[in-house]
Symmetry: none
Subunit: 175 residues, 2 copies
DNA sequence: ACTTCTAAGGTCAAAGTAGGTCAAAGAATT
DNA sequence: AATTCTTTGACCTACTTTGACCTTAGAAGT
């Protein structure tokens, strides 16, 4: 079995275990994990960037420096869900601006997302936002990625609101 | 947990407690605090300069010499003024991801934008969103443009909410 | 008043810690 | 054989912690 697959399933186990608790997602130390698997730390990045992408429903944030860490959150959309369908089938890997607008309209009228969220996403995908000298194809790829990541964020928020309005984790206080 | 975070939340607790009384802000002794946390005194300065800046809504004065001390005051600025200021002065034409996150944090703690908006914007600017093969400089230019467009969208929404059917909320200014 | 002492706080650079990127080499698939 | 996927390592960026050295305010001694 490939190393990457082992690391992938290890991380998925961690996430599975964390889902039973109240915690949202998991935190891991890149160097620890690399040492555990006797591999280069950058191998962890490879696994993350190939198997824990927004396309797979994962959101990642990380911090460098002392006490740094990598946080992974899995956002699950039920496969029967209309929103899930739109995200998977319509976003794809490339989105023109008109396509993006149409999709946002559909999402809004079907009440999948709020008009407010739609407006913000539209702003991020607008020509103004993407006014840098790169080929249009790359912009369309960008639109798809940004759209996907933002929709995932919205879904995550909506789900956590549904679970419990008081799920606000700020920071642990150790003094 | 990082030492700096502990110190930060300790200070914020002090400020929170002081806000219940009539006192304006708090006073602390640098050396005392450093001893309490078993760290170098300059660590306190580090925390102050990274987490209690004017951008975060804090004003700091200090006195040296015998009986010297550090005074920290949390100032409530008008959210829209602060937002305007940060858009004009801090966004610029290029934003690294850490810079963007810092800016969003500042906007959030000073109540210029909601945590929800901040999260959505952060999603748009995340490495995952911008995972296309273009040089980092272009990504930074993109971040700045996306940030500006989205913040302006937020401002416009806030302003139209104020004009709209919802009663005007006049906030008292404590300065 | 003037100088000196001492008790604060301030600055800055270096070391320490931790994650990110990229390209080249190696392995597996087609 | 060609292509694609995996693994590794050299180098980069970001955040934290510490310590040496500097500045200032007030107190004490003259």
């Amino acid at each position: 079995m490939r190393l990457s697959d082992s690391i992938e399933s290890f991380i998925k186990q961690m996430i599975g275990a964390a889902e039973d608790t109240e915690e949202e997602g998991i935190e891991l130390r890149r160097n620890e994990l690399a040492e555990y698997f006797h591999c280069a730390p950058s191998q962890i990045n490879y696994v993350l960037s190939t198997r824990f992408t927004p396309e797979h429903g994962y959101m990642i944030e990380s911090r460098r420096g002392g006490g740094g860490c990598i946080r992974i959150v899995h956002v699950e959309t039920s496969p029967t869900d209309h929103l899930d369908y739109l995200i998977r089938e319509k976003v794809g890997t490339s989105l023109t601006e008109p396509e993006a607008r149409l999709l946002l309209r559909q999402l809004t009228v079907s009440n999948a997302i709020s008009a407010t969220d739609a407006t913000l996403i539209a702003a991020a995908l607008s020509p103004q936002s993407l006014a840098v000298p790169i080929p249009e194809e790359l912009k369309n790829a960008l639109r798809a990625k940004i759209m996907r990541t933002m929709l995932l964020t919205v879904v995550r928020r909506i789900q956590s609101e549904r679970r419990g309005p008081t799920a606000m984790i700020i920071r642990e206080r150790k003094v």
